[in-house]
Symmetry: C3
Subunit: 384 residues, 3 copies
Amino acid sequence: WKEGIRFESEDRKTEIKAGGVIQTDWAAFDPDEEVDAAFSDDDIDGHGVEFRRARLFVEGTIYENYEFKSEFEFAEGDVDFTDVWLGMKNIPYVGRIRVGHQKEPFSLEELTSSKFITFMERGLPNAFSPGRNTGLTLSNQELNGLMTWAMGAFYETDDFGDSFADFSDYQATARITGLPWYCEDGRELVHLGLSYSHKFRDSDETTVRFSARPEAHLTDARLADTGSIATDGVDLFNPEFAMVYGPFSLQGEYFQALVDSEADDYTDFYGFYVFASYFLTGEHRPYKTSSGAFDRVKPRQNFNPVKGGWGAWELGVRYSRLDLNDAGITGGREQNYTFGLNWYPNPNMRVMFNYVLAQIEDREDLGIDDADVNIFESRFQVDF
Amino acid sequence: WKEGIRFESEDRKTEIKAGGVIQTDWAAFDPDEEVDAAFSDDDIDGHGVEFRRARLFVEGTIYENYEFKSEFEFAEGDVDFTDVWLGMKNIPYVGRIRVGHQKEPFSLEELTSSKFITFMERGLPNAFSPGRNTGLTLSNQELNGLMTWAMGAFYETDDFGDSFADFSDYQATARITGLPWYCEDGRELVHLGLSYSHKFRDSDETTVRFSARPEAHLTDARLADTGSIATDGVDLFNPEFAMVYGPFSLQGEYFQALVDSEADDYTDFYGFYVFASYFLTGEHRPYKTSSGAFDRVKPRQNFNPVKGGWGAWELGVRYSRLDLNDAGITGGREQNYTFGLNWYPNPNMRVMFNYVLAQIEDREDLGIDDADVNIFESRFQVDF
Amino acid sequence: WKEGIRFESEDRKTEIKAGGVIQTDWAAFDPDEEVDAAFSDDDIDGHGVEFRRARLFVEGTIYENYEFKSEFEFAEGDVDFTDVWLGMKNIPYVGRIRVGHQKEPFSLEELTSSKFITFMERGLPNAFSPGRNTGLTLSNQELNGLMTWAMGAFYETDDFGDSFADFSDYQATARITGLPWYCEDGRELVHLGLSYSHKFRDSDETTVRFSARPEAHLTDARLADTGSIATDGVDLFNPEFAMVYGPFSLQGEYFQALVDSEADDYTDFYGFYVFASYFLTGEHRPYKTSSGAFDRVKPRQNFNPVKGGWGAWELGVRYSRLDLNDAGITGGREQNYTFGLNWYPNPNMRVMFNYVLAQIEDREDLGIDDADVNIFESRFQVDF
């Protein structure tokens, strides 16, 4: 047990980990009348509970240079494929090769595990992130871990990693990150990153769609939604910034999508978010140099009502914006203000409270001019 | 391996168990003409096999005071959530807190694991038990384990632990148990218990329904079934009794449901069961003081045709009754006589044979006056 | 870790294994016009990726003589039951008893694990193999492992091991194998085998259907397909042959199905395949005497670009034929030519490339006279 279940062979050529994560959420939604009229009650006006994530995995390094991961998501009763891949590492020059279902190398917040992100949901413009698909990636670190690069080619697959079509459904994605400033083992750092992705499509049959829930998953309502757009190809750009300065940290990303459609040469959507986080109990947000993303928070002292110790307490505030209106498409302009409080009683558990004020403007297809939703939500999480 | 797969750290602050259960069932149904006419052949007239339960779990105690369980049910091809929760224990005064999908503290037979119940299915009035839902529970033992109490608040959730609605869908449930007599490490004991649950509902949109299969799961026919009843709230009462006297044991429970509906202030349904069990080979039914429920049977000698040893053999007989007729609702009056023979070749395997005579009366909505079904069924079970 | 994750107790009375397999496939199909016209584009004209298999299992031997396996298949998002059974072994005379969902003892290629078969898919006449169903089997080895026998009775069950009906849905299956020549620990051997199965049916309600994809799973098109045939019973015969001579091996099987239908006393379908395999790097195909089937290939040297070592490389070629035309049924006559190249970088990983030329004739119900499909496919596999 090292913040997870592990088995190692004595020569360290084999290491197996097995484990999982449970996230059990509660949320209550208070939409105004304009939203109420545009969406059905079942979607947005109510309260409830759900398992946001319930995953089990086995992963390992075998024969020193080979690795695999097999992780499945059981929430909502079917079996979604999350990380299901095999690969080789320690290859001269190339570093790592992985084949299978995996995250495309795009966006700092997307590549930070959902177990470790600062708010319950990623920011609105995560709508542009390709997420996980089935393909092949190469990746490596350079400059003693101060730089990472990754690139890959993917089929656009369903939740089970499958795709079959007689048209183009590919994409190529790449990311590069660097640490211009890094000291005290990551207690102070500046991270910069840049991701790019191109979706290869042919417009007779292929479409693209961007949409987002407000920053709460219990509703199915997509306040902002382009609908399907026939397209010949899509370019996605994503510069990243993050800074850690002891218990304080800042993080922000910008996203731009250029959709090559018949209506316009480049229909242009964009979004961004920026957030600040502060640990009242003095911890800092740990950074993982091998992936160029954030990692597990470990409290200085576990919560223990008998012996003393309060765990770690973190405050966060985020502003995010998503603009899906352009060239006759009225997907809406949305902004979310999110306030968060996280409690980490031990390194493997976390209790989160989020308040979200979601505002949606100019969503003409639903007759929404300027509306908002108040959302209260909480999460109990364990990973093992 | 201690009747299950276990990993412990040396300081005993961490203990992980992983395992599962398989129950593979066969059954044959012989309904009389009245039942045959009321139900379709596909439901009740036939024979077949099924996996009654097929579960995998990981559970553990971490950092001494924290615990989790993550168990999923794969029978019938989807992923149902059984025990999926996290919590803390050894809390002064409070004892344990658990958040997630778990059994509501109601009914001795419900709270005894399906791996250890005496007959293949729980008795008919289990129809009243709330079973598992998503919520928060507190529980503790008092008087050196001679008493337990538990209480919790829950959303009424689907098989995947999810719920979303704009109306009331809550319930509160509590149970208290005691052992007025307990000696020889549980080889002789008397158990008393009392459970209560209230479903908070608002009748415009909310309904409740009680129904039961005969005590065999391979049929989908609910011989007794109230249909949906619009309700403002439901009260459930459940006194429990059990006695172990060496290889002999008795167990019984009474259930009453008061449904606050428009038709009647209190539509009143009830049920009860009583059973006796006897171990021919001298074992006794073990009782778990921490949960106030029964536990795993361990044969004195494993079955071994080479070295000798027959495992444990147990006989059982049960009478159960369920009355779902009141205030114009004609869900039927059902009684089941069940005869059981259990063979435990080792502590982790069990072969069961049950004969059930199910009788249903006064089910007017289906035109059944007095009818019966003969059922033969068997189960092969391993848990690990 | 011994080509898999294992836990053993010190007295060797308990041994638990846990693991799984991932197979991630790519394929491209090039059908001619006749096929294109008969099938929809979504089925046969295209390219894509899928997880062919994604399984997790726990299996074990407990209390020295008892065993179980619990393996589930997550591909395509539901939970199929593969090997889910419990049993006893080391029984005098009888050998092993297993109850649950398991492979019927029929066909060498079917009984060789999908992790170890030489081509990506089994040959066309595997359409006749009963595969896995829920039932009871007896099996044993004789003559110091030079002979095996197995027999069982089964319900015809769905992917989840369930069946319920008021008519006959049983089958009985048996297999016997022998090694007239076996030396150098299996580096040279001749295997002979014979399987027989009878499906007990009553024709009012029961039907049987044989169909096959071309030897590629990413398409859903069944080039050969009898459709449903009402039947009183089906006899299946299957003689097997295999030979290993160092790195070279041959394998072939014949299949015959006699369907007792109203149209004809014995509607007669048949198929066969024969293939050759050669290891360029000197390994041989390992044979498992306890099951009478082939086993895991272990490269002499793992692939290691730094230290040297190329893994194992294997070439294969197969011809297979399936004839589903008889007595007015025009399921078609199909033959497949398959060329394969396998690379085993280490004992637990495999990369496969197959080219398949599939030819279908006389499929009158679809208006196909003589048509063909070219298929290119590859697989990345890890098992653990």
